[in-house]
């Protein structure tokens, strides 16, 4: 199998590359002129590096993408922008995805695997304790979400539109929060960082996490598996902790954080007050917290990874305890 991989220099992408190589695939890896290729090379290691073909370029047009794909039979699209305002994320995530989808369908690839996010669902309207799985609809008000999630929702919508129009064989992977060495284990799902203090939101909600190696295995499995055209898969590990459990574990590991606790019943009302003030003051404080966003982020939900296990045959081999230790040992970037 010949895979054209985007985002291969990133946190998840380099592990996807390695996993694909270990399974015998040839990986044609996109690097941008500004990408850090040396660290990718040392990560992949000498033995596997022979299976890597680097192509330098940018996803700046359909023709450019077509040339980059070359004779690959599979596209694995991991690249995305993780920071910046909405416009920047759209310019760096949605627009390149459009070009790449068009080029892939011209190239007639056998599969297009796209990395989406677990955040794309309309969680705000689920009841507390409800099940969130692949049947849950995508958010119908993506513009109310944070810029990153907004761009990921539109990126996914664009991919589904392409499939409908061109029959491009498409498989979507929706990972939860990806953690691992260099990224640490804290995320917005636990709470918000305000300088040195963590504003801990609730605490009894299960954290929808996936360890980076587990997630990479799922992505590479999606490139190989049969009968997964038109399917989306949530990628989450087993035995996930709650926010409180994670902070306790961090404290025991000597990495306690100073936290200010917002009890669960207060999250909604406080978010509404902040949202009101932000609007009333015409943006003197930015509208980063809204009721809709906090309902999407900190609700207690039941997540399911059953579909990925059943149809992709994927298993999160690294247990949470092991993954936690490796992440702590790897430090934070």
């Amino acid at each position: 199998m010949n895979v054209f991989l985007t985002g291969g220099t990133g946190f998840l992408g380099r592990r996807v590359a390695k996993s694909l190589l270990e399974r015998g695939a040839h990986v044609r890896c996109l690097v941008r002129p500004s990408s850090d290729v040396r660290s990718l090379q040392s990560f992949i290691g000498h033995d596997l590096w022979n299976g890597v073909e680097l192509v330098t370029g940018d996803l700046t047009g359909v023709d450019a993408c077509r040339r980059l794909i070359g004779h690959s039979d599979t596209v694995c699209h991991v690249a995305a922008s993780l920071s910046g305002g909405t416009a920047v994320m759209f310019l760096n995530t949605v627009i390149p995805t459009r070009y790449l989808l068009a080029a892939a369908s011209q190239a007639g690839v056998r599969r297009f695997v796209q990395i989406s996010s677990l955040g794309v669902y309309e969680a705000a309207n689920l009841l507390t304790g409800a099940q969130l799985d692949e049947q849950t609809p995508l958010d119908s008000h993506p513009e109310l979400r944070d810029p990153y999630t907004y761009s990921k929702i539109v990126q996914e919508q664009v991919a589904w539109e392409y499939r409908a129009q061109t029959n491009l064989p498409l498989t979507i992977i929706r990972p939860g929060v990806i953690y691992g060495p260099g990224r640490g284990v804290l995320s917005n799902r636990v709470g918000l960082k305000l300088g040195p203090v963590l504003i801990k939101m609730g605490g009894s909600q299960t954290l929808p996490y996936t360890y980076v190696d587990n997630c990479a295995a799922a992505v590479s499995q999606a490139c190989f598996a049969e009968n997964v055209d038109g399917q989306a898969f949530n990628i989450l590990d087993d035995g996930l902790p709650t926010g409180t459990q994670l902070l306790r574990k961090l404290r025991r590991a000597g990495q306690g954080v100073r936290a200010l606790w917002v009890p669960r019943p207060m999250i909604g009302p406080l978010s509404s007050v902040y949202e009101w003030y932000s609007r009333w003051s015409q943006g003197q404080l930015p509208g980063v917290i809204t009721r809709y966003r906090s309902d999407s982020m900190w609700k207690k939900l039941n997540y399911s990874n059953a579909k990925a296990k059943a149809q992709l045959g994927w298993r999160p081999h690294v247990t949470f305890d092991e993954a936690f230790d490796r992440s702590i040992a790897g430090g934070q970037a």
């Binding site: 500004s34 700046t60 416009a87 920047v88 759209f90 627009i95 015409q282 943006g283």
Partner: protein, 373 residues
């Protein structure tokens, strides 16, 4: 008694739904004379996201169609700098007034063409020199007018612009980014603000310009030093990517100095001590402390009144521009001023380039010297 009827709101449309478009749409919502009717971007996805977040009814990926269907009175141009000239010409030809983001055009030749077109169409232009209308700068101007520092003699502007910041990272990460293609590179897209803050107080049409740029670890120049010499007033501009993010202008007069910090929204006044010797050493910190207390009091009051906004200057400028259209009065920033700033920017980049060429010629000699050492 009947209330006076306000003039009808002007229909605003915007082209270029990138980073700065958010500020335009957000500030436009605060100006009573503006009604946002349409947004346009070459990428429909970009136009759609701006329209969805700011509830704009018209969504376009084609300027001609937007001009024909949305029939705006004013077009805001927030696209990359090299497109400002042609897009402004199109909007003028469709009978619109134009608010164009800085830098006005690619160079002074293009600026002259655009201004001539606006004058013959009898339409008004506005350039995004919004910090001139920032409350802190307006305050500084009135303190100068009140004689607090005597006659202005020298203005010094510093822009600290870490490349890792929101705008810089986008440019550094993409070698083909439009900013890098500009004749003045990164500086052409960034030095307008610190430069026009100097030129606001340095009135010469043709000050003498000396400028030099330099590189750090990036493959494009990231440091810039400019000296300006007018008949009575001088200016200096420092752009650095190696210092922390800051937007500061110091105005030196023959009686004192005012330091305007746009990020802190503070003004500090320095003068020579009035008391002799050691007493002066007590007087100065006391005055600085009092100055700090005044700034705190002022900002606290503004915070309570919800007046602290990053783009207050843009809102004020927009309000004045729209008022000048409604009342057919003089533009807040004259065409002559837009042309003067553009011409001085051209001279800055030309001087930098000529110095860089001269430095490159010296390279072999330097190597020889190293060998001898």
């Amino acid at each position: 008694m009947n209330k006076p009827v306000p003039p009808p709101r002007l229909r605003m449309a915007l082209i270029g739904c990138g980073q700065i478009a958010d500020a335009h749409l957000q500030e436009a919502a605060k100006v009573d004379s503006v009604e946002v009717v349409a947004v346009c971007d070459m990428h429909m996805d970009l136009a759609k996201q701006a329209a969805a977040r700011f509830r704009v009814p018209g969504i376009y990926d084609n300027l001609d169609r937007m001009l024909a269907e949305a029939k705006p009175d004013v077009v805001h141009i927030t696209t990359p700098a090299h497109t400002h000239g042609p897009l402004t010409m199109k909007a003028l030809a469709a009978g619109c007034h134009v608010y164009v983001e800085k830098p006005f055009t690619l160079d002074a030749i293009e600026a002259e063409t655009v201004i001539a077109a606006a004058e013959s169409a009898e339409k008004k232009l506005c350039i995004g020199h919004d910090q001139l209308f920032d409350p802190t700068w307006l305050d500084c101007r009135s303190r100068i007018a009140a004689g607090q520092i005597g006659h202005v003699r020298h203005i010094e502007s510093t822009l600290g612009y870490p490349i890792s910041g929101q705008f810089g990272a986008v440019v550094a990460g993409d070698p083909r980014h439009w900013v890098r293609q500009l004749p003045g590179g990164l500086f052409q897209n960034t030095i307008s603000h610190p430069l026009y803050r100097i030129l606001d107080l340095l009135p010469d049409l043709h000050p003498r310009v000396e400028a030099r740029w330099d590189r750090t670890k990036y493959d494009f120049p990231t440091e810039l030093w400019v000296q300006l010499r007018g008949a009575e007033i001088t200016g200096s501009l420092t752009f650095s990517s190696s210092v922390y993010a800051q937007r500061v202008t110091r105005v030196y007069g023959d009686q004192g100095m005012l330091e305007v910090d746009f990020d802190a929204q503070t003004i500090r006044r320095h003068t020579a001590p009035k008391l002799p010797g050691a007493f002066g050493r007590l007087e100065m910190p006391f005055r600085q402390w009092r100055e700090g207390a005044r700034n705190l009091q002022r900002n606290l009051w503004r915070f309570l009144k919800c007046e602290i906004h990053y783009f207050s200057g843009m809102r004020n400028l927009m309000a004045e521009f729209y008022r000048s259209i409604q009342q057919d009065t003089e533009q807040p920033i004259t065409n002559a001023e837009m042309l003067r700033v553009t011409r001085i920017m051209d001279e800055i980049f030309a001087d930098c380039r000529s110095r860089e060429e001269r430095v490159e010629e010296f390279v072999p000699e330097t190597r020889e010297l190293e060998v001898v050492r």
